[in-house]
């Protein structure tokens, strides 16, 4: 029975950190699920190391998971954490700078032995949890490893196996502190380890031990309660970006009534889309793990010719390998969805960190004049809608389309008021038939008023035709080296993509005045941060407008007009300035870049400060 008083909080940011072998991501996602079920709004940010198992105990091996939840709207995973849970000395060292002054540290005492301190490169004889270096924080030292072993000593498990449950001990402890139910995790463990009941049991036991430990002791600061957030009415679930992407693809395939052909080559942070899709073969999904990215996109192009909803995915380095094939799809004019789950580059860069630096690659990165539409997701749940839209455009306009997400969205989670399948837009696919022949001849590059040609599938009698990468004659599609024809075709392909602006929504403001001093334009995963920053500014008396772009090529038709209503435009991007160039190029807009290129999302405070600075206040 708890004696402590419960304190109410509107917002809490918890950061879990430990060795990549400590099960940090699992702990984080479990806490997320329980928190979501408790009705809080939330956002998460996993922060993994590039190496799967860097030497245990070192800074390079630290894996983090940040969860921001609240009884109010939550738009970001939080700039700084209120609570930092560290499994060892390296985790503390790597993450202390993310903790608010006065914040809570829960430290696994056993992770601060001599060996761990040495590996974390603390000076000889120094131990942060023993000396006064953490004076500014509330530190709780818990011998997690010891207590976990203690509670599992009768299970017959070996020490290594017992130690695998120490993350569950910590989870139990936090469940107590934040008054969360353990049930979802118990269910999860029982189903995950259905074939190894002894493992499930040990984990549940460790979690319950952590829960009771917090109850009966020692954690002196009491319990917190974060009430359910006042969210829009409806039914919610928690969803991660890559999962939403996979669902969005399946949804589009259902709406278009076409099978999905998804071909890829494993790469962080895109692989989880493959993992998710390959579990849903009962939707008629074909997943292919090709020998390389080129083969992946190539086979998708083959499947598209055959009439499938063809999709390929990668991160920047793999996308660049697909470039030539994507240009082929452009000149073929066949549907293809290219998912670029961006990460920090160039080259291998920071493979597990986020960045928005592939925008130019998506828009321009092909040989020759090869325009194609580009659509970007703004939040983990929005990946569903954005990739659905990418599929719709690809199928209805016979074109390859880029869908842009990034590592922050891919692995981040948030509550999702999911749609019913009947709310989804229709996707109209019309295959060519014999009736499309004129005087007995089929013209594969004849177009409708939108300049879109028809999709003629092999197997259709009478429509036998050849498509190729060589320039084709207008209408007939025959190979043509005629100079005037080439110019005509380049212009037609451009116009076709430009025309898509007539079939996408106009740009709306996310918030703020319709005219004024400053408009902040963002795209992709900066959405939540910009929104939160502007909301705080508004509370502080400064009303700045925000527009967030989903359609990056073509831009919504009214964007140029919208921009003219403001004296200045600020464009925050996690890159060295890409959208800002497009806006200046297309609209001669007075756009000011604001860039962060650290492999991390913007902090709300950073955006606010930049705006204060710009407004000279």
């Amino acid at each position: 029975m708890s004696k402590e008083k419960i304190q109410f909080k509107t917002n809490v940011v918890i950061r879990f950190a430990g060795d990549s072998g400590d099960g940090i991501q699992l702990t984080g996602t479990q806490f997320t699920t329980s928190t979501a079920l408790a009705g809080n709004d939330l956002a998460t940010y996993p922060d993994y190391p590039a190496e799967i198992r860097a030497p245990a105990g070192t800074i390079a091996g630290v894996s983090g998971f940040q969860l921001h939840f609240g009884s109010d709207e939550v738009h970001t995973s939080g700039d700084y954490s209120d609570v930092l849970v560290v499994m060892n000395a390296a985790a503390l060292k790597a993450n202390l700078s993310h903790l608010k002054k006065g914040g809570i540290i829960i430290a696994n005492e056993d992770g601060f032995d001599e060996k761990n301190l040495r590996l974390a490169k603390y000076p000889e004889g120094e131990n942060p949890i023993r000396d006064d270096s953490l004076e500014e924080y509330q530190v709780h030292i818990v011998p997690v490893t010891k207590l976990t072993r203690e509670c599992l000593k009768d299970t017959g498990l070996g020490v290594r196996d017992m130690d695998r449950s120490k993350n569950m001990f910590v989870l139990g402890l936090l469940y107590y502190m934040y008054n969360r139910s353990m049930d979802p995790t118990i269910q999860f463990l029982e189903s995950k380890f259905a074939k190894k009941p002894e493992v499930a049991e040990a984990n549940v036991k460790a979690m319950k031990a952590g829960y009771s430990f917090a109850d009966t002791t020692e954690i002196q600061h009491g319990r917190f309660e974060v009430k359910a957030a006042p969210m829009v009415k409806g039914t919610y679930r928690s969803i991660m970006g890559n999962q939403a992407t996979a669902f969005g693809l399946i949804a589009a395939s259902r709406r278009a009534n076409l099978p999905i052909y998804y071909a890829t080559y494993p790469i962080t942070p895109a692989s989880d889309i493959l993992h998710e899709l390959s579990r849903h073969k009962n939707f008629g999904v074909v997943t292919v793990q090709a020998e390389d990215e080129i083969s992946a996109v190539a086979s998708a192009i083959g499947a598209s010719f055959g009439g499938s909803l063809a999709v390929t995915a990668s991160a920047g380095p793999g996308i660049s390998l697909k470039t030539e094939a994507i240009s082929l799809a452009t000149i073929y004019e066949i549907p293809l969805v290219v998912c670029d789950i961006q990460r920090a580059g160039p080259s291998t860069g920071l493979p597990t960190k986020m960045e928005q630096a592939d925008l130019m690659q998506a828009i321009y990165g092909r040989p020759g004049e090869a325009p194609l539409p580009v659509v970007a997701a703004t939040s983990p749940a929005d990946c569903f809608d954005a990739v659905f839209e990418a599929c719709r455009i690809a199928l209805e306009f016979m074109t390859p389309v880029f869908f842009l997400s990034d590592g922050y969205l891919a692995n981040g989670a948030e509550p999702w008021r999911f749609p019913s399948s009947s709310d989804l837009k229709e996707i109209r696919v019309g295959f060519a038939t014999e009736a499309d022949k004129e005087n007995g001849v089929y013209h594969p590059y004849k177009r409708d008023e939108r300049l879109v040609r028809k999709w003629a599938r092999p197997g259709t009698p009478g429509l036998e035709h050849r498509i190729g990468g060589l320039e084709k004659e207008d209408v007939t599609g025959n190979v043509s080296y005629d100079p005037d024809n080439h110019e005509t075709m380049v212009k037609i392909r451009q116009q076709k993509v430009d025309n898509i602006a007539d079939h996408i929504p106009l740009q709306e403001l996310d918030s703020g005045p319709e005219k004024g001093e400053l408009l902040v334009i963002g795209w992709g995963s900066t959405y939540g941060t910009i929104k939160a920053a502007l909301k705080q500014l508004r509370e502080e008396g400064v009303d700045v407008a925000h527009a967030h772009l989903r359609y990056l090529n073509p831009f919504p038709k009214n964007l140029g007009e919208l921009i003219k209503n403001y004296d200045r435009i600020l464009v925050p991007e996690v890159n060295n300035g890409q959208l800002v160039r497009l806006l200046r190029d297309q609209f001669l807009a007075p756009a000011i870049p604001y860039n962060k290129i650290k492999g991390q999302p913007f902090a709300v405070a950073e955006i606010k400060n930049r705006i204060w600075e710009l407004l000279n206040r």
Binding site: M231, K233, T235, I250, K281, N282, S295, A298, S421, G468
Partner: protein
């Protein structure tokens, strides 16, 4: 093997229907013409529907092929035809998918897809036009050009050791490996037929004369004076014989060491010879490397033509679609709303 029996089948088209309205742009005298003609000759005999045939090519002179076939066709990008064809076949198993490719296309830039396609074994027919040169780019050495080959990019002779395409294919676990040549139409037709009938990826290497940049590379196999000594035609279950009136044979000493023997001398008969077995992978490997053996005083070893190897193994598209079927049996046809909803939801009222 049922699939090897050639039965007369009816198609809905003739050879003439396969001729497209496009002007052919190969150099006059190019071996590609003959290959096109033999393909157009054989296809109507296979019992296919014209609308179900797709030719997929990469880039090169040879890869212009689909433009000249009045079927569905894709001229794609350099080296990737096998992958594109795989995607098409996996998504549309009922189609008859043909890959037309060159030695540069498949063995240089597309080498990776070539070996991986063979191991995955989709039911494709690969026609590899080997002219031992880069034709389209005007005459550089290719990965099959012999050592020392003098070309525009190797004026002092190529310093590279070439690939042996059939040995490479066997090493990649191909299920069907055969060789023919442009200048032997009858044999080429027979090999095209066999390739089409094979279930799985069939690799047919076709020696093709590039009369502009590598003229005569394979004439020794067709010239009257040399052909009987240089070319050995394989037949399943038959002994390996060649030379004038088939008086020379090949025997396997110690079961694995090829040896040329003279059937006139030494009292040897055909039953002492190496009997060709299309299902023997070890012997297929020996056959692929036959001309590399040092002669044993009986002249040079010939090159083999015909089906080196043909076995059955499941096809990629069958396995892929079987899994989809199984998943549907186990879980029922996917329900979108249930998928989106997942297991844990909560209400905000």
């Amino acid at each position: 093997m049922a699939s090897t029996q050639t039965t007369e089948k009816t198609s809905n088209f003739t050879s003439k229907d396969l001729v497209s309205d496009q002007d052919i742009r190969w150099c006059p005298g190019c071996g590609d013409y003959s290959i096109l003609k033999q393909v157009q000759k054989v296809l109507p005999e296979l019992g296919l529907k014209k609308e179900n045939i797709v030719f997929v090519s990469g880039i090169g002179c040879s890869s212009r092929f689909p433009y000249y076939m009045n079927t569905y066709g894709m001229h794609t990008i350099h080296g990737r035809a096998a992958s594109i064809a795989t995607g098409l076949k996996v998504s549309r198993p009922e189609l008859s998918v043909w890959v037309v490719t060159g030695d540069g296309d498949s063995l240089s830039i597309g080498g990776n897809h070539f070996i991986h396609t063979l191991r995955k074994n989709p039911n494709l027919n690969i026609l590899l036009f080997n002219n031992e040169i880069y034709g389209l780019t005007k005459g550089q050495f290719s990965p099959t050009s012999p050592e020392g080959k003098v070309t525009k990019s190797s004026p002092m002779g190529s310093v590279e050791h070439p690939f042996n395409p059939l040995a490479l294919a066997l090493g990649a676990d191909a299920t069907f490996v055969a060789r023919s040549m442009d200048r032997d139409p009858k044999h080429l037709q027979a090999m095209i037929r066999r390739s089409a009938e094979h279930k799985g990826t069939s690799l047919l290497e076709i020696y093709q004369n590039c009369n502009v940049f590598n003229d005569g590379a394979f004439f020794e196999f067709t010239d009257r004076a040399t052909k009987t000594d240089r070319a050995l035609f394989l037949e399943h279950g038959k002994p390996l014989t060649f030379g004038a009136e088939n008086r020379k044979g090949i025997r396997l000493r110690d079961g694995c060491q090829p040896e040329i023997v003279d059937l006139e001398k030494g009292g040897l008969s055909e039953s002492d010879l190496w009997i060709h077995d299309e299902k023997d992978s070890l012997k297929a490997g020996l056959l692929a490397r036959l001309p590399e053996n040092a002669g044993n005083g009986q002249g040079e070893f010939p090159s083999a033509f015909g089906v080196f190897y043909a076995i059955e193994r499941y096809c990629l598209e069958e396995a892929v679609n079987a899994q989809i079927k199984k998943a549907r049996e186990r879980m029922g046809d996917g329900e979108l709303d249930a998928l989106i909803r997942g297991d844990h939801v909560w209400e905000i009222k």
